[in-house]
């Protein structure tokens, strides 16, 4: 298994390199120099000041030189200095990572714990009212704009019923996490329910399930010994894919609930034209996403012997 993990991580390297290159290219192509975006408030800038700033930021060097410098800095964990806060970007990011992780994991947990069993039960009674209802709910869940859902939930639970706080991280307690996590987790939950349902229906009609029954197994054993793992394999793909979407959507949800994570940092940095911070955020988010994908791949090969012993 260690070998597998290492191999998978090695496969990540070219992708990471490509991502770093893309981010660099994207942000170096900024029309108008980076220096001027620092002072983008409409005031004419003194050309001498601008020239000085440019030298400071190394913007006068040719592009390939800048790229080498950039990669070099990345290797040492230096993501530059935030324009706005004038501290290393890494410092700004560090504070925000914890809340982002908490939110993403909580949302995923919610989606898995509710979505998969829901899909399971819908599949066990196909065509029933419960099944139909679940599927309608699933499609709706996928069509909801998250920020709107967040607002509506906040309205209902925080303002009308006053059960939960409506925004912010507060003391880091669970109460503050619930609304954002549920808001973020609704559409993956819907997707998992649908995928699980389709997977269960497909597996329950498979030949080896018929064999299992012919052996004299009761339905409960058939499901636990034979159906469950096969369904898991099919659902795992969906789970892995959803992480990416989750990371994207977290950006919006963090805004709605003023959740102090990477996402809201990204937005405020964009609004403040704090390019190093934007670059840093995006890099971290994408790297995290790639790491999750690698982890899902490894998990996959652990569960499915066809991949392990191919």
């Amino acid at each position: 298994m260690l070998l597998l993990t290492l191999r998978r991580l090695a496969q990540m390297i070219p992708t990471v390199a490509a991502v770093v290159l893309t981010i660099f290219v994207l942000f170096s192509v900024v029309p108008g120099s980076i220096a001027s975006s620092m002072f983008d408030d409409g005031r004419g800038m003194d050309p001498q000041v601008m020239e000085r700033k440019r030298k400071e930021l190394g913007l006068d060097k040719p592009i390939h030189q800048r790229f080498v410098d950039y990669v070099g800095k990345l290797a040492t964990g230096d993501l530059g200095r935030s324009f706005k806060y004038d501290v290393p970007v890494t410092q700004v990011l560090a504070d925000r990572m914890g809340p982002s992780l908490k939110l993403t994991l909580a949302a995923m947990a919610f989606a898995i714990v509710i979505g998969i069993p829901l899909g399971f039960f819908a599949a066990l009674k196909p065509g029933s009212l419960g099944d139909f209802g679940t599927m309608v709910a699933a499609v709706s869940g996928l069509s909801l704009p998250k920020f709107w859902l967040g607002l509506m939930l906040a309205y209902l639970f925080a303002l009308q019923l006053k059960w939960l706080p409506s925004f912010g991280y507060g003391d880091g307690g669970l109460r503050y996490l619930i609304l954002p996590a549920v808001t973020l987790g609704v559409s993956p939950m819907a997707l998992f329910a649908r995928t699980t349902r389709a997977a269960v229906l497909e597996i329950m009609n498979a030949d080896f399930v018929r064999t299992a029954r012919s052996k004299g197994m009761g339905e409960v054993r058939v499901v636990s010994w034979h159906v469950a793992r096969n369904v898991l394999v099919l659902v795992l793909t969906a789970v892995g894919l959803q992480f990416g979407a989750l990371l994207s959507q977290a950006v919006v949800v963090e805004q709605v609930f003023s959740w102090p994570g990477l996402g809201s940092l990204l937005i405020s940095s964009i609004n403040d034209r704090d390019i190093p911070a934007v670059q840093g955020c995006i890099l971290v988010i994408v790297l995290f996403f790639l790491a999750i994908n690698a982890a899902v791949d490894v998990a996959y090969s652990l569960i499915d012997p066809r991949i392990r012993y191919g």
Binding site: F208, R210, R213, S214, K215, G216, G218, R229, N230, D304
Partner: protein, 327 residues
């Protein structure tokens, strides 16, 4: 010789197919019996209903198929109306089944050893460790080389013939009285086919297990079975000793089938001849002709054949046939 009550008795079985509100009788009026330890063949073309008859015996029919009428008796007890809980107790223990496609019939995520071991855990109350050991013995019994290593393999790592051996090991693990084999060799190479058939016959003879062999392969059934039943379009048309069916077929359909078998050495003996065929095609379930279902393709069809379906009548030498113009 086997005496006493037959092991399996199927009486006037009807299987219905529900199709958008309508119900068609996919299989109708099928009756046969299998004594203890006997090898019995059920032969017919694709779509004649032989596989679903086998599934009905096991109680494995799923919607839209269901048993519509008739009785199935196992060791004298009626089982066609048993709830799943009752059927569960019989399956694996008194009756077992092996299927046509060994690749898809085994759980791809579970080692073959474990899938065999399940039988011992389910039916003999064995612990897993003990069951795994017994599974290795079972693999040895079906002549899988290096059974200890093989037991840890997954289905996709084995060849088709090996997988079918695993299926046989599973089916015979708890010494059932009846083994239902649904075209077990159709998906295998010809060379492997006879190995598997020989294995089945040997093991079943040893344990006294009767075999209900479903096949479309006449040659196979002729070699293997003592008695043979021929099905056509959901009905049983002839049921006799294997030897008699092939030497002197009585129903026009069987006659056509036997005549159409190419014989080794026939060309040398009789010169080049066209392969015989039965004209026409098998009717679909929704469009079974009235009267005898074979009449549109039968050379001897007469008026009564077209209107009234024939009954199963006894024939000299033992057995039944379903025809007004049987030989």
């Amino acid at each position: 010789m086997n005496v006493g009550a037959p092991l399996l008795e199927v009486v006037d079985l009807r299987i219905d197919l529900a199709d958008a509100g309508l119900r068609h009788a996919a299989v109708e009026g099928v009756s046969f019996s299998i004594p203890r330890g006997e090898t019995f063949g059920l032969v017919g073309e694709s779509g004649c209903g032989k596989s679903i008859t086998a599934l009905a015996v096991m109680g494995l029919l799923r919607p839209p198929l269901a048993i519509g009428a008739g009785r199935i008796l196992l060791e004298g007890r009626e089982i066609q109306a048993l709830p799943q809980s009752g059927l569960k107790r019989l399956r694996g223990r008194r009756i077992a089944m092996i299927f046509q496609e060994p690749m898809t019939a085994l759980n791809p995520l579970s080692s073959v050893g474990r899938q065999i071991a399940e039988m011992f855990v389910l039916h003999e109350g064995a612990g897993w460790r003990q069951a795994q050991d017994k599974a290795v013995e079972a693999l040895r019994m079906v002549r899988v080389p290096s059974p200890e290593r093989r037991a840890k393999d997954y289905p996709h790592q084995l060849s088709g013939g090996m997988r079918q051996r695993v299926m046989i090991a599973i089916a015979l693990a708890c010494r059932p009285a009846l083994l239902v084999a649904d075209e077990p060799t159709t998906a295998l190479d010809v060379t492997v086919q006879s190995e598997i058939i020989d294995l089945m016959q040997e093991l079943c003879a040893e344990k006294g297990t009767a075999i209900l062999m479903i096949s479309h392969d006449l040659g196979l059934v002729a070699r293997m079975c003592r008695r043979v039943a021929v099905m056509y379009a959901g009905r049983l048309v002839e049921e006799r000793a294997a030897h008699d069916v092939f030497r002197a077929p009585s129903h026009p359909y069987t006659q056509g089938l036997v005549a159409s078998m190419p014989r080794l050495g026939a060309r040398a003996a009789h010169g080049r001849n066209r392969l015989q065929e039965i004209k026409g095609v098998v009717p679909s379930i929704a469009a079974y002709p009235p009267g005898c279902r074979f009449h549109p393709r039968c050379g001897s069809a007469s008026d009564v054949c077209r209107k009234v379906p024939p009954e199963q009548t006894g024939i000299e030498g033992g057995g039944t046939v379903c025809c007004y113009h049987h030989a």
